[in-house]
Symmetry: D2
Subunit: 357 residues, 4 copies
Amino acid sequence: MTNRQQREPKAPSRACLGVGVIGYGYWGPNIARSIATTEGCHVAAIGDASDDALARAGRMYPGAHLWKNWRDVIADPSVDAVAVVTPVRQHYEMALAALRAGKHVLVEKPMTETSAQGAALIEEADRRNLILMVDHTFVYTGAVQKIRDLVVQGIVGEVYYYDSTRINLGLFQSDVNVIWDLAVHDLSIIDFLLDDVPVAISACGADHLHGNRENMAHIVLYFSSGTIAHLNVNWLAPVKVRRTLIGGSQRMIVYDDLEPSEKVKVYDRGVDIRLAQERIHEARVSYRIGDMWAPQTSVKEALVTEIEHFVDCVANNRVPLTSGAVGLNIVSYLEYATQSLNQRGHPVELAPLRRVS
Amino acid sequence: MTNRQQREPKAPSRACLGVGVIGYGYWGPNIARSIATTEGCHVAAIGDASDDALARAGRMYPGAHLWKNWRDVIADPSVDAVAVVTPVRQHYEMALAALRAGKHVLVEKPMTETSAQGAALIEEADRRNLILMVDHTFVYTGAVQKIRDLVVQGIVGEVYYYDSTRINLGLFQSDVNVIWDLAVHDLSIIDFLLDDVPVAISACGADHLHGNRENMAHIVLYFSSGTIAHLNVNWLAPVKVRRTLIGGSQRMIVYDDLEPSEKVKVYDRGVDIRLAQERIHEARVSYRIGDMWAPQTSVKEALVTEIEHFVDCVANNRVPLTSGAVGLNIVSYLEYATQSLNQRGHPVELAPLRRVS
Amino acid sequence: MTNRQQREPKAPSRACLGVGVIGYGYWGPNIARSIATTEGCHVAAIGDASDDALARAGRMYPGAHLWKNWRDVIADPSVDAVAVVTPVRQHYEMALAALRAGKHVLVEKPMTETSAQGAALIEEADRRNLILMVDHTFVYTGAVQKIRDLVVQGIVGEVYYYDSTRINLGLFQSDVNVIWDLAVHDLSIIDFLLDDVPVAISACGADHLHGNRENMAHIVLYFSSGTIAHLNVNWLAPVKVRRTLIGGSQRMIVYDDLEPSEKVKVYDRGVDIRLAQERIHEARVSYRIGDMWAPQTSVKEALVTEIEHFVDCVANNRVPLTSGAVGLNIVSYLEYATQSLNQRGHPVELAPLRRVS
Amino acid sequence: MTNRQQREPKAPSRACLGVGVIGYGYWGPNIARSIATTEGCHVAAIGDASDDALARAGRMYPGAHLWKNWRDVIADPSVDAVAVVTPVRQHYEMALAALRAGKHVLVEKPMTETSAQGAALIEEADRRNLILMVDHTFVYTGAVQKIRDLVVQGIVGEVYYYDSTRINLGLFQSDVNVIWDLAVHDLSIIDFLLDDVPVAISACGADHLHGNRENMAHIVLYFSSGTIAHLNVNWLAPVKVRRTLIGGSQRMIVYDDLEPSEKVKVYDRGVDIRLAQERIHEARVSYRIGDMWAPQTSVKEALVTEIEHFVDCVANNRVPLTSGAVGLNIVSYLEYATQSLNQRGHPVELAPLRRVS
């Protein structure tokens, strides 16, 4: 007689992955929202030590179990997989506990504080045949995937350099410096774009506020192919910039993540040098200045693409694009960068890395 | 009976400085034009080994003497001062010859190929009481002079960092790499802005075209005060960028030289960190986000300001803002950067420098 | 024993205004979210004819009553005020019914299809001493409020012109043309900024897709003070632009709503004309080119400010900033513009309007 | 013995067109420079009533005859063609005198003050078989020529609209309003791009400084094909904008003349409306959002292209792209716009025009 609607939360089917989210501070709500939006999974439980955070979580996800103690999230029988969205220092302990409890794990970037911890997580996941995936969000953006296509298809040619500026005012992190917070994005993008490993890394930085954490840094990665990557990261900049230049022998790319549209611009520009015998050096350089082209990129939210991929990897036992092994690569780069940072930029030669992709 | 006008070139008065310009290629015509525009001096002679260049010079300056051999410019009795606008490798020989002939010298940047050459020129100029000035053009722009005012007046506060991007496609130079071509601009601006000397310099770069000259580089300068400067220079970029961020404890500046107006923007933004005892680290950081302000800067052409200054220094025996001593500072920075470049960015500690300003 | 949290929706106190939202399509969710966020009110009920929309609403607001028939929202005893967020053609009927049921009303812009309808709503609200407010969102933005301050304080001086470009691709509306969809924003901003009424309005436009609704238009308003306003609105533009220039005798403003920060820029620029006797006309014009200044504007979400204002008006029986009377002004401007549009831009003289503010 | 060079001005060959430039104020020097740069012509004489202007001219062109009286330029036997670069009010008298003296004429835009004067010049040139060309510079830019190609090749499809913003601070003209100064550029571009004639024109504007000349205006042109053009011109704007949107059924163009590169951007964007029977209107609109493409455009200076074209027309008796007939079209549009302006934007229906291209 009444057309009043039911307001029951959607009853997850058996095939629907129950995800427990540990950490509901700055980034956790975004992860939870993407889980809620994605077919094939649902927010089964949320854990946070803060009453306020739990109250907010409860208003948004009335069907989810709420826990103050993160161990209860892992123990919750409705939880099939755990998303660890806490400060870096807690990643290892929480992810390890989740794996040991037989739960798949999606862990926030950077994966761990040390590469030894990373290797231990990988080993644990492998032994139990569980999915271990790292939240390297940018790899799942339409822009970065388009750039990957352009590189793979040879449109860019030989990649000469990757030069990124990732600066803004804040947010100063409590437990990591700006490299572990911002440069990790570029490292994961570089790892995704290039089929190459760095042979040396140098980093320099400064802690202008004397808080014992660098708030600005410059990192340089030297690759075996000759590619050079430079990352400019800064928490103390007056303006927000997210701009990367990629120079190649055939094309050059400007990737500006703050552009509302046309995030990726491809320039048919370059230089040809003919190694002539003559001594009139200038004459041998010719410049190629052609069209610019901004390919349409997917506007699908990266986090949703990522969660779908996680669900697919769990369902079909696939290796994630941003697997634990990839996460370990990034952590080891961060360790080398930190080592160089402590020596004022003295470049650190890398032990031969076996690239995992 | 006719109102046909006379077309005599202006007859320079005795007080009018006769300047001989050696080198009429890319930059020489700009120097000559500025000399012609400035009261108190005139283009007395022009020298270039190229017939074409001389023909162009003759059409523009029918009153100037034209010489194929640069030594004739120096010897020309109508020449009181010489502007050396040739490739770097010729600066020392030409400037020294001019000084020995008793002529004042304005020399293109960088002053010389080595600091030993630079010191020799300074000594020669001092002995003969002649003006030796380096064409560090940016120091004479309205924008850089406004920034200098903001620094000196304490508006910026303690300078945390100087971070410059100076990239474009070309022009590949024949005899120097991108550091000696582009970074020299930033080094001269930094030297002008800061009352401080670097204690270490590192630089890394790459020669993607295998022409034996680096076409991209990153240079970092560590200053005794804690200021850190980073210069990103590149001849192989798809877009032209001339953008510098200056971070200070009180204000931050974005200086974009390609902006038609509002080249200098001053941001009342920053961070305060209260070193609290508590372990909740995030709580102690507060962000200040205030107004932005773009002061009007002089639109007078920098080269004209510079030539006027040169004429004034000659007339009144003043020390130029960009004296030989300043030029020597810059050359020594370039040498240290080159040294680091050859060691893949290994930072080079500087011998204590006596700053000259 | 367990620390599992309660997940009860917040129980609204007696003083908490229960708002019923009619229409949960494109804009309704934003209104609902702002109501949910604001202290002193809550989402009591949501009405929409679409099952899908209601299902979405239910997931977000498990505590709200859901109704397929909008009349049930109005009749719902938990509803003290009604937000009408439906297509324009339904505004009048729904708002009138709500007022007659003794409910306060917040109605989407434009208030009604005709000024007669608008007048009837005002009369009904007045008779029952109920609040009638129109959702002119831009009036509640930090940027527009800052501009209002600059105008009121005389910083701008005499307002010469208001020139707005509000263009993008889509969204083509089903029941109104681009004027009633986009120009209404500018009309409400102008009404808020200027203490003045238009004396004539002209409008021209085109329906390029032959759908019988203009997809682009230019509207000009002539004010009694001499101010001229021009609005460029377009649903068929390749890029999104939200840019307004305001020229005044003392200062000029550029307001770009798409700028992430520095939305409002104030230029100390202008022209002085000295009415000299001489015939050399050029000589009497002098240009003033001073600093630019971007005042910090509130980043508080406009809709939240607006809902807070609505709650305050209800609680304290205050006249809203965007009252029914203001909404009527705007509807009458739209009617005059439509009249002109039908005459290919022939300007329509306005009957003397009593400005209500 | 000496290698001192000759400094004779280049001796023009017989085939080299001698051009006399009347008016050496703001624009005259640019015309003269382009003549001097172009093969096949030279600056034979320069006329200006101001001694200062003549002195400047003499320094730049020592080989040119200088005259205070413009009639002497026309009478000068070394002058084969005359460039009239004076205020509009003098165009007719000077151009007519030049034609009557058997000289070809290049006249500054707008061609004349009235269309009657324009018709008289055309008749005079035709009778004497002389070239009469108008300096519509933008038609000769690489950007506009590229857009013309895109329109002609059908890339744009049916042209829906042309929407231009051409604003800045100054220069207030002495003898014409902003329409005759700035809108003339857009009118000549439109005339070049579209094979169509306007059927009605409306214009409104304001003279905020009470100098009896409108300093801002909006002009709308209605074309027989349905194309609508809108021009926003303003001498009293805080920022300089030169931006045109061209909407077509297949592609849309953004042309920004202030962009250092990528002046022309082509967007594969649009809307398809399927005229369905159903009443759910929204459902029938679909948006096409594809790639953006910035074709490389010629960077050759437009004035040089134009002067070369003038020389070619004279040498080979060709009809110029911007012939007197085209100039007359533009003047008649300006007259209609003025007529509408005097009626507060009342649209003026055009007498059927025979389009000349």
